[in-house]
Every structure is written in C-alpha cells, then in structure tokens.
Symmetry: C2
C-alpha cells in the first residue's frame, strides 16, 4: 500500500492515524499541493479529483477522499463495527465533517497556514460556521466519550484531524472543555503528541 499525502493536511493525517493505529504497513509519498503536484497528469491518473490523500493498493487500484479511505481501511476493526446502523451513524458524522466542519475550520486554517493570511483576514461567515461546528461537538461530547458507540471509531479520527489543529486557524477551544478532553483521549489512543 502506498499513501500519497501532505503531512500538513488534516485530511491526509486521518489516513496516517488510521493506518498507524491498525498497524498497516505502507509507504508514504509526499505530494506538495502548494506546487500543484496533485494536479499533474501522473497524479490525475490515480485520482481525477486531483486532491490528496490517495491510497494506491498493491494491485494498482486507487482510492481517494479521506473519509472513504479510512472507512475502507477500518473494515473488520473496532474503528468500524459491523452493525449496519452503527456504521450509518458513523457515516452521519463523516459526511457532516466534510460538509460542515472541514469547509469552515480546515479552510480557515488553510488560508493562514498555507496562504499566509493574517487572522484579521479571516472570513466572518466561515469562522461563524466553524464556531457552530465546534459548539455542536461540545454538546455531543456532553452525552458520551466518543462520537458513536463506546470506543473510538473512524468518526472520531475524521473529526480529530482538523479539530486538534483548529487553533492554527484562530479557533479557541478554551471554552470547550469536553472537546479538549476528547482530543486528549484520542491522542492517547492514537499515540500522538499534542499539536503545537
């Protein structure tokens, strides 16, 4: 298995966290999206979407989209229980992450970390959506320790990647103690150092 990705991208880190947690052996190929390396013909042959991460399996088949990848890799493990409805509730958070969390929290961070914009240049509507997403997570974690079920699932990993980097986009987790405790809980299970 070969993973094509960028270690500054939360979407790519989701795949790394999952693969490492599952003990999967893989090779990693860095793709620099700031240099357009995901838009060249050789890469587009692997995924016409032109985005990282992409996983190439030993038989040559490729799979793109972070949440599709981690869901596929996690089959048969505790990260994706077999029960169909439990999987659907995990999917609920995976789709919410890509539609309501990533476009606000990750994109705001992208503008600052990749495009070197200042905090003052943040888009108000995007910040507001990010704050709403974090508030929803805080409420959800008032009920349970994990997003779905009684152990960590790929829903947690998908949400963790950009939430633990949210401060780099100017989001403040100080008033969200449950989210902070959940981040620590995930980091402990995944053997990660706290993000700076």
């Amino acid at each position: 298995v070969r993973i094509f990705g960028d270690l500054n991208s939360g979407n790519c880190l989701k795949v790394k966290y999952t693969a490492d947690h599952l003990g999967l052996r893989y090779d990693w190929t860095d793709v620099d999206i700031t240099k357009g390396e995901s838009r060249v013909a050789g890469f587009l042959a692997k995924s016409p979407m032109g985005q990282v991460p992409v996983v190439e399996f030993d038989d040559g088949r490729c799979l793109a989209q972070s949440n599709a990848i981690i869901r596929y890799l996690a089959r048969g493990s505790s990260l994706l229980p077999d029960d169909a409805f439990t999987q659907a509730k995990i999917d609920e958070w995976l789709f919410w992450e890509q539609n309501s969390h990533e476009p606000s929290i990750a994109t705001t961070r992208y503008h600052i970390v990749y495009l070197n914009r200042s905090l003052e240049e943040r888009e108000a509507w995007r910040v507001a959506r990010g704050e709403q997403a974090l508030d929803l997570m805080e409420r959800r974690l008032g009920e349970d320790e994990w997003f779905v079920g009684r152990t960590m699932s790929v829903a947690d990993i998908a949400l963790l990647a950009y939430t633990r980097l949210a401060h780099q986009g100017g989001f403040d987790l100080a008033a969200r103690p449950r989210v902070r405790r959940w981040i620590s809980r995930c980091e402990r299970v995944l053997n990660l150092q706290p993000a700076s």
Copy 2:
C-alpha cells in the same frame, strides 16, 4: 419510516428518489428550513445537526445526512453492491459530492432560489468551484455511463439531485453533453420528469 424534509432541497430529494426507487413505504413530513423549523427543540432531538433530511425509523431511531441515509437505505439493493471496494468507490463520490459539489452548486442555487439573490450577486469563487465540479463530472462520464459500475448507484443519485437543478443557480450544462445525457438516463430509471 418517516422522512422529514423539504422538497426544494436536493439533499432531501436524494432520499425521496432512493426510497421511491426501492419501493419503500414512508410518510413524509415537510420541514420549512426558511422558517427555522429544523432548529427547534423537537427537531433537534431527532438530529442535533439541525438539518434536513432526517429519517425516523419505526423503532424511533433517527438518521441524518442525506448520503448516510441513502447509503443505509440502499443496502442489499443494486444501488449499493455488496463488494467492499465498489462501496468504497461509491463513497469516494459521496464524500466528493458533500465537499466539492454541494457547497458550490447547491449553495449558489440556495442563494438565488431561497434568498432571492440575483445572478449578478453570485460569488465568483463559489461559481468557479461549481464549474470545476461539473467539468470533472463531464470527464468522468466520458469513460462510463454511471459513476461507479455498470448500473445506477447511490453515487449517481447523490450527484443527480443538485446537478439537475444546477441551471437554477445559473450553471450552464449546454457544453456538457455527457452530463445532460446522464441526467436523462437517471431520470428515466427513477421515473422523474425533467426539472424546470
């Protein structure tokens, strides 16, 4: 089964198309998002995300997020073949739809149809992303008749919902003949009248 939704919302129509195609019996409850009906306590108890569609099963369990719902309903049917890698390739398009297609094409249409903005007020960056998404679909449909596999899947249904309404957001499909033929193909299978 009860579906809570808004018949002007492509995300809700995905669930209706899937349920109708599968011959599922259901009751439909209209939720007017412009009146905030998805944000009241009774609705938030069904889904804290505060969005439509939501499906409530006869045992009281609820499921939100359009693509999570159609994927769950389609289990065991030709809309979601059993093979794990085929499902992962379907997931690829489902996640792409929620991250790269819906936020550009559906949101641009939302501003016009729901918020009564004019075509001139469209956001240039959002329109550009929508055009890119439609271009990618046109390229993909140069290779095959359906997005994944040799028959219609939930990937097609997820992409169809807002693509067949894209003109309402000012997107022009005239130069995308494959997308137009694919829309007709889907409409034929789903027994839908062309959208006005």
